[in-house]
Symmetry: C2
Subunit: 126 residues, 2 copies
Amino acid sequence: MTQAAFFVLTALADQPRHGYGILREVEELSDGAVQLRVGTLYGVLDRLTADELIVLDREEVQQGRLRRYYRLTEEGTEALAAEAERMAAGAGAAKRRIAEGRRASEGNRPAGTVPPTAPGLAGGLA
Amino acid sequence: MTQAAFFVLTALADQPRHGYGILREVEELSDGAVQLRVGTLYGVLDRLTADELIVLDREEVQQGRLRRYYRLTEEGTEALAAEAERMAAGAGAAKRRIAEGRRASEGNRPAGTVPPTAPGLAGGLA
DNA sequence: TTGAATATATCGGCAGCCGATATATCCTGG
DNA sequence: CCAGGATATATCGGCTGCCGATATATTCAA
């Protein structure tokens, strides 16, 4: 799953939204870190629809402007949950390895000089 | 940062590795979930080198076969840590939103019928 | 009346992943 | 002895997918 698809699914996870609303929501939920582009959105929407991860919920006309609302399917919710799990596992693996690398480059120092930052190495990537 | 680049950096986070070793390491650290392809690897390696996130550590000849070892630069370690942070935040945001969506679709039901599965809503996305 | 925000959509360029392919060595099994 | 698989490097073309630019239309504020 691409980054863009992940964020679209995430934006739709709590409630149905229309295209432009997804754009704003992704920016907000990522605290401005992720800016989903208009040119990216509709391709993603088409692909997610084709994969049946999202579905057209309804169409509304608000103040003369068409709003096309999408919502997650059950399959889409599962796919998003699985992806979130993989990302969390990947992030955890990276963090542990960085810590390992730091320990290795620090070399053997007199016992007790290293602050106990080391986390447990439990858990892998699904 | 692409997924492939992320996993290459992760594989290199604890110690220098050569190309083929990265391939095996990524598969192992992801528990078989991620299979980095040979055709993908060298492009990633070139780009990461150009971006100075990794650097050629040394070359060895083991049993007549060349091994080209790469290692993370300080910048590479920082970039990986930052990406891991973003991924963890994104994963957390997705999980919270899925939970919110579940609550919304469940509607108002008689108090006490819903098992207390709801996790804490702490943390945002950087 | 001009510009920004809202709202949709398309298209071409470019970046990047992947399968196929190539080359070469070493080891194991038949 | 030789075929096949693992180890190890690298390249190339095709396809997918992101992004900037562009187009259209309405509403509202300056």
